[in-house]
Symmetry: D2
Subunit: 341 residues, 4 copies
């Protein structure tokens, strides 16, 4: 059956599979201390144009959010984010499991804004009872957001400014970062992120790798004893060099960007077809996720012919569905989907 | 200076102080295994008309919420409550510190309703991704609420029904329970609570005791190894018999109810005066807390003459203030306050 | 029945009971922001001869250990202590509940030594796998120890030196501190502790108060947002001024020292009688706890006439019992016990 | 340089690499809900001869121990194990990070025994203060142990019996299980483990896979909402089918056993050479790990020519080194090592 369900249902891009085969007889030291991790980190550091950045490799997205947030947030503090943020909605309480409250602000197009963040912090400071409240301790945004939208460089810089004014680091979750970096509207490149954020991630799992998230601490600000912290969270991969190998491959010959661009282009074709056919598209997005609002019966029809992500019930008669492309989406699949719409 | 700031600024009612003096030469076994705890539990059990109820005594309110919620909620689950709930707003993240997400629903007059709870749970169940979400694991309501309002017996019973239908216990936080039990509108007595709730608390700290919260597990459902759990949370008082002694005193000769009734009556006089003078009272409450909305300048004037709790900024020009009476509020103090209004 | 079971079975010394009665009509701001806490802190600071020291008041011993250790220990680190330490044996896992491993070293007379600590840390540093191990993050000792023995000033200073050399704070748990400070062998006074330790506590619960532990951070090194941390652990007492009042009383007219001295003197009489009668005393202690090794049958006989703490089975035929005096132990009680021995 | 450092430095066995290549164009549903996971589970279930067993797949060893122990241990309880257990020594506090104390008993040849466990539990039960102590809540053993030794079926059955008598599940960590299952001395096969243990794991990472640990709950006793728990610990792999694929490969045509047998045979040759040359072998082991005690200078010499794991300092002049073979160890490597010895 045709599937536009998500961007992580294929194993990995051919280049990574080939590389795995190539290196199968090599041996490497464990836990990310190997040369592939060094090489991958070097390539990412160069793209970030930031010699101070430290790069680490973890396995999964929720795991990475948990480790990063727990490591940058004081034990008495919480993490501020949009109420639609992955850490607030779809991580099964992984953040709270480490003792931190998720302080959710109302999203707009999946985003929070600098004035909104500032207002929240100012109210906290002004509240006479704030020692009894959870102090905002770091700021989390997703790029692209869970709704496929993209923050502009100016928006991110403004959020960072407010965060820093209030003594908080800014963490950008880039689980799908490639799809933001390569969309037409984007003006926040890796080097911008490396200047603006205190820590951000570059997702591999959803952008061509088998698994893997690169974590970039941008100011030589890796938390103390970070390896031990990663281990303590059960997140230290024995054969860490498999992560390095994948990111080294993704950041050779622009592969990461090409894979991402392909997914966006496939989504663009679908978006155009949806507009042509008069569908109600829920967010203005240029990345690989498209959200459409349809009636229950139309949803049922569609889902009998193509796997789509269910987003949420909108009202008594409408639901929101997600169409998601990936680096692996073929022209034939796109044509087949458009024919169904 | 005149103070209507809160209901926990006096040491304890005279009967408790006297009792402390009386027993000062006695010795007792520690950690709540003494005869005073047994006696107090017996009196509470009798009032609850529920021979199956187990009664425990802890020291403080946040502590009690933390211990109770952690002990009744599966490790992967969260606690559902109003967004105005004390555990969501003013416990510094004590619930999240034990790994549980607080699942906050929009309050109405400080309350949540059975249909609202049911809808939330049904949406959770219907969501195809719910294994990635935090499962609602118990329900928390405050009686009276943080806004001084009171749930009716029918409302509580309906909440319990929905909670039970979804496999969740209902926990009623009675930090100020006396003020609910004795207000005119109340129709949910101790025996009702002991039938409806799975666990509820009877607050001492704010109702005449030096400190102390009684926890009532109503169905012989004390969590396994509860004493160890209390200890593990740092909440096991060495001289636990001081808790028993206080609750024994409070539940002798109706003292708990008389102290509470007094505070409500004093609040009623103030409420009437406020209405007479045209004040904007924010919630329809009959308990010992009154919330008024006033201009900034009026707030400043008032606060120069009487200590009042600051609640929150309402809009650019108005704030909400809290007037709080207690068992210790005198007629003179009430008269003085009314004169100022 | 005669009881030498523990030092926390009486309510409080008469001076504290009297003071409670005296102040019963006063009102005070909550959470330790009152004048009694300030006064008590001032007296303790003066005795410590350390203007940089910050003093806080908590309710119970396990609670205090949990809050202090969690606040001074990095999230990836553990707390080093003797294997006989209260935090390792009798706090129901309260330290692990906050995520920290207890790193227990073999005790000798209830103590650990500076060379032992240094050796442990050096082995950790030398271990090629130490990023996979729990890093020693702070050092905990009890004064007096759980076996009633007392560290000398030189021993504590040496431990502090080693701890600091390895980047760790030294925390001295003084749940029974009075009994150490006033025993004949003691040469580590409050001002010594305030120079040597990074944080120490002065126990009230076991030395004349109803409840309460004073926490002294000796170098202006109170952890950031400590009040919020205390609250988050459920340990912030609403009527915090009751703690201040008690410590203010204990540190007026040398009361704390007199109460302690009395208990030690009573223990000394019992110790002498035990020696005279040929008992096997398990540790050389000069404080209020005496440990004797007796046969099972002798233990049974004794326990029929006097409540004693059971310590542990020594071998198939012997057990260790604890005789514990307190500030409240009378001459008659001592005489009655000696008559039984 | 020659390396006998560990058993996880090669990517994966050729069959797994080939399979990855084969399936690269397939797509599968995420999070372990795919057909490969089902197929692999079926093969494992058949080998276990236990239709009640539930099989799950996680990524890494520490992660798996953390998730399993946290899911089977009451929140107030600890995990009993040998003091040499991986969870006690080399998991950076991952168990304590979830709130559970590790209750370490003295190891003998890396093992604990049923009488030792029973004695520990009986002492706990007999202790009058046990509500203040950490209750033993589950039992953890490694098969083979961290010292390469192997429990007999009778030893495991006896441990299970004692554990069950005390209300505890037995968890067998099989991170290197293949090496135990195929060593000459072994008499505890998969079906025995599936009868004896409540939960055990089958390690892939160290036995031919890229990564992956299979978790077998043997009595239909998967903890409630286990997927959510896995997610909450950051341990749910998006492309879970990559785990299923690897285990399906390992349990096709006896591959898992052949890979393991090979490593043991290589170790046997080295063991014989060591004995012939008069080396001091530290534990009687028949699996793929060999521990030798050598002088510092001999250790230094060896380590210049071959990578070996450093185990620990034995005394002032001796250290213990580990020689570790794997499924990938070649005859040439063995010959080269023997030549060096």
């Amino acid at each position: 059956m045709l599937s536009f369900e998500n961007d992580y249902s294929a194993a990995a891009c051919p280049q990574i599979i080939a590389r795995m085969q190539q290196v199968q007889n090599e041996t490497h030291p464990g836990y990310g201390t190997d040369d592939y991790c060094k090489a991958a980190a070097g390539k990412i550091r160069a793209l970030c144009d930031n010699p101070e950045s430290d790069i680490w490799f973890l396995t999964g997205g929720t795991q990475t959010n948990q480790v990063v947030i727990d490591s940058i947030t004081a034990q008495y503090a919480g993490v501020v984010c949009a109420d639609s943020a992955h850490i607030n909605t779809h991580e099964a309480g992984a953040i709270e499991a480490t003792g931190h409250k998720v302080l959710a602000l109302p999203q707009q197009d999946g985003k929070i804004s600098a004035p909104q963040l500032d207002d929240y912090c100012e109210r906290f400071n002004a509240d006479a009872n704030h020692t009894h409240m959870v102090r905002p301790g770091c700021v989390y945004v997703s790029q692209p957001t869970e709704y496929g939208t993209v923050y502009t460089r100016a928006e991110l810089a403004a959020l960072a400014q407010v965060a820093h004014d209030h003594g908080m680091p800014l963490f950008i979750d880039g689980a799908r970062l490639g799809y933001a970096l390569t969309c037409d509207a984007n003006d926040a490149n890796l080097d911008d992120l490396a200047r603006i954020a205190d820590v951000f991630t570059i997702g591999g799992t959803k952008v061509g790798a088998m698994f893997g998230e690169a974590v970039v601490f941008t100011r030589g600000n890796t938390p103390e004893n970070f390896t031990a912290l990663v281990k303590l969270h059960g997140a230290l991969l024995a054969k860490g060099w498999l992560l390095g190998l994948q990111f080294d491959t993704l950041f050779t010959d622009d592969l990461y960007f090409q894979l991402s661009k392909h997914a966006n282009a496939q989504a663009d074709k679908i978006r155009q077809a949806l507009l042509d056919k008069g569908y109600d598209i829920a967010f203005v997005s240029q990345t690989n996720q498209i959200f459409i609002t349809v009636t229950h019966s139309r949803a049922q029809e569609l889902q009998q012919q193509v796997k789509l992500g269910f987003m949420e019930a909108v009202d008594a008669s409408h639901v929101m569905l997600r169409i998601c492309t990936s680096w692996a989406t073929t022209d034939d699949q796109v044509a087949a989907l458009i024919a169904l719409l």
